[in-house]
């Protein structure tokens, strides 16, 4: 790894569509990551935290009853078992260590489902950093347990009241905070989105998911999976799961977006599936939900983590280049898979990966070996799901 520059573009996608005020900070961040990722001491410290503190490697679990239901072998990569309950901690620990290395003691984060906010608040508590988390007011309502966790961890949670009051607005407000406090603050973006070099950094920090899973499934099955399936909001767990397999031409990569109330309803969070003209949101060019004037549309999903009108630029390129396929699963389908997984496996998945599980269970395929990234656990969703199920 001797590159002097991280990926800024993925095909035509990506870039740095941000105010000039942030450009020097993005250059500083890129230089810091290029140096940190080849620094043995940094990597040893990150490796130690991921192993001893967070619980990596996570297990690869043969889900026998889900397999029986699907008629093919299904393995789950158990990111739900990691500290704080989702893959977000991989990125948050890495970027928080990077902030320390850059001498920045104040952390800004945004959160949708609350998992990235909790992961950031956790890393900040551990490393003695100040933490401010922006969260849409609607998400604060539907993910209340995570708000309480962040506050217990010492973070300040700021409610964002603009627009649909979900993840898009939270990211915008986090970027505005960063523009204002860039001298002493680092923005830990939670997904594989944002201006370069963020999508590349988040991918580097999340690729442990796929690297581990690839070795684990080779050990267990003696072969690679036919499909790797992961849910996609911004797309960090998916890019983390896919990256190790991108060079394995026979492994199909499938990203599952939120179809919400159905793609045709217009109320969904599936820009990669729905197609259309790419656009600029939150600093990068990618697949995007927008109107003819370029105004960003509101996304909709039952799952706060997928309720986002944009998508990571590398996913848009994986789609266009034909390397990965993107599909979408509705709110009702995800709810059904949430319940089914709990009953068949004794695992309560987050609503986000429940989308991926539904796809594997119900969409016919010739595959006989699937690997699904179970990106997080569903405790945070319980109250909302029970309400929706009328219980």
């Amino acid at each position: 790894m001797s590159e002097t520059k991280l990926d800024h573009r993925f095909g035509p996608y990506g870039g740095q569509y941000v105010p000039e005020t942030l450009m020097p900070a993005l250059a500083e961040l890129e230089a810091a990551w290029l140096s940190a990722r080849v620094d043995d001491d940094f990597q040893a410290e990150l490796g130690r935290l991921l192993r001893d503190y967070a619980g990596r490697p996570t297990p690869l679990y043969l889900a026998e009853r889900l397999s029986a239901a699907a008629g093919r072998t299904i393995y789950l990569k158990r990111e739900d078992l990691i500290h704080t309950g989702a893959h977000k901690i991989n990125n948050a620990l890495g970027q928080a260590l990077l902030a320390v290395r850059m001498g920045k003691r104040r952390i800004i984060a945004e959160t949708g489902a609350g998992q990235h906010g909790v992961a950031s608040a956790t890393a900040c508590a551990l490393l003695e950093l100040e933490c401010v988390v922006y969260m849409g007011a609607e998400d604060i309502r539907r993910q209340a347990p995570n708000v309480q966790r962040m506050e217990l961890l010492g973070a300040t949670v700021v409610a964002v009241e603009a627009g649909a009051r979900t993840l898009k607005e939270a990211v915008s407000e986090a970027i505005r905070d960063w523009v204002t406090n860039v001298a002493d603050s680092h923005y830990i973006i939670g997904s594989a989105v944002g201006p370069a070099p963020y999508p590349a950094i988040v991918r580097d920090l999340q690729r442990c998911i796929g690297d581990e899973a690839r070795a684990q499934i080779l050990e267990r099955e003696g072969r690679l999976p036919q499909r790797v399936i992961a849910c996609v909001g911004g797309g960090s767990n998916a890019i983390g799961a896919f990256t190790a397999f991108v060079g394995d031409d026979d492994v199909e990569l499938i990203g599952v977006e939120a179809a919400g109330e159905g793609i045709d309803s217009g109320r969904h969070g599936a820009p990669l599936t729905a197609g259309g003209r790419p656009g600029v949101l939150h600093g990068s060019l990618s697949a995007l939900l927008q109107d003819d004037e370029g105004q960003i549309a509101e996304a909709h999903s039952i799952s706060a983590g997928l309720d986002y009108p944009g998508s990571g630029p590398e996913h848009a390129w994986l789609r266009d280049s034909g390397r990965a396929t993107y599909v979408a699963v509705t709110d009702d389908e995800a709810l059904a898979a949430f319940e089914r997984t709990a009953q068949l496996e004794g695992i309560i998945p987050a609503l986000e990966p429940a989308h991926a599980i539904h796809y594997a269970l119900h969409v016919p395929s010739d595959s006989d070996l699937d690997l699904i990234c179970l990106s997080g656990r569903g405790d945070k969703d319980l109250a909302e799901v029970l309400k929706l199920l009328g219980r």
């Binding site: 941000v18 505005r176 656009g279 600029v280 105004q295």
Partner: protein
């Protein structure tokens, strides 16, 4: 007939030693007709140029006042074409510099967008989320259409970046006074350092914006050597709060104009 860059240059050079006053107008806020009325009030109040904002759903560089005005304008039915209608009326009276986020430009198609704003009489274009590295296509279209592509400099910009931005800018250099988003700021204003630093890297007029919200601050900016002063959120707030936005904004612009004499 002068092209956009020449018209802007004339507006700066014609001010006879005082700083040019560039009030910001949110196109379509509170509605299209009233925004045109406010623009005309800016002209009558003593503006030298007008910065005309195209409302956008997710304006990353803007603070709460301009954000909510943009949302309100969109809710009231503002579109790019309607805002360009306002530009067309106002450009007969003063040079218009359009402020537009990059996705609205991409949505129309860059070349077509630039041709249409040129046809509406717009003299210059500011894109707050299009730094130098991403700007070549837009800048080239603007050059071909005679529209000044106005660069932005920030207090955080390195000397190397300032040199490149200062060399590339057309019309004037939009200088961001403080790290942050648009919005009124009450702090004591020491603009001398940022202006001196930027001026050493450009031959274009230096216009200062972001946070200048009182006539005293405007006067301080001019005293510190700014060739132009941009007033945004204070005026947009007036448009939001006043019973008669055009009359109230005219009074306010007159106060800023007096402070710059």
């Amino acid at each position: 007939m002068m092209n956009g860059a020449e018209r802007i240059a004339a507006a700066f050079s014609g001010r006879k030693g005082r700083a040019a006053l560039m009030p910001y107008l949110m196109g379509g806020f509170p509605d299209i007709e009233t925004s045109l009325g406010i623009g005309n009030a800016y002209v009558e109040g003593g503006a030298d140029l007008i910065e005309l904002g195209v409302p956008f759903s997710d304006p990353l560089a803007d603070g709460p006042v301009i954000q909510s005005a943009g949302s309100a304008a969109l809710a009231a039915g503002a579109t790019l074409d309607l805002v360009l209608g306002v530009a067309g009326e106002l450009s007969a009276r003063l040079p218009i510099v359009l402020m537009c986020y990059s996705n609205a430009i991409l949505a129309r198609g860059t070349d077509r967008f630039v041709d249409e704003i040129a046809a509406a009489g717009v003299s210059g274009l500011i894109v707050p989320d299009l730094p130098l590295e991403e700007a070549p296509a837009t800048s080239k279209s603007c050059a071909a259409a005679g529209v000044a592509f106005v660069g932005l400099a920030a207090p955080t910009s390195t000397d190397q970046r300032l040199a490149a931005i200062g060399a590339a800018t057309q019309g004037f250099l939009y200088t961001v006074a403080v790290a942050g988003t648009t919005g009124e700021r009450g702090d004591d204003s020491d603009y001398g350092e940022v202006i001196a630093r930027v001026r050493s890297h450009t031959s274009a007029p230096v216009a200062l914006g972001f946070g200048i919200s009182t006539p005293e601050q405007a006067s301080a900016a001019a005293g510190a050597g700014a060739d132009g002063v941009i007033i945004g959120s204070r005026l947009v707030r007036e448009a939001a709060e006043a019973d008669q936005p055009p009359a109230a904004c005219k009074t306010l612009v007159e106060q800023f104009a007096r402070a710059l004499r």
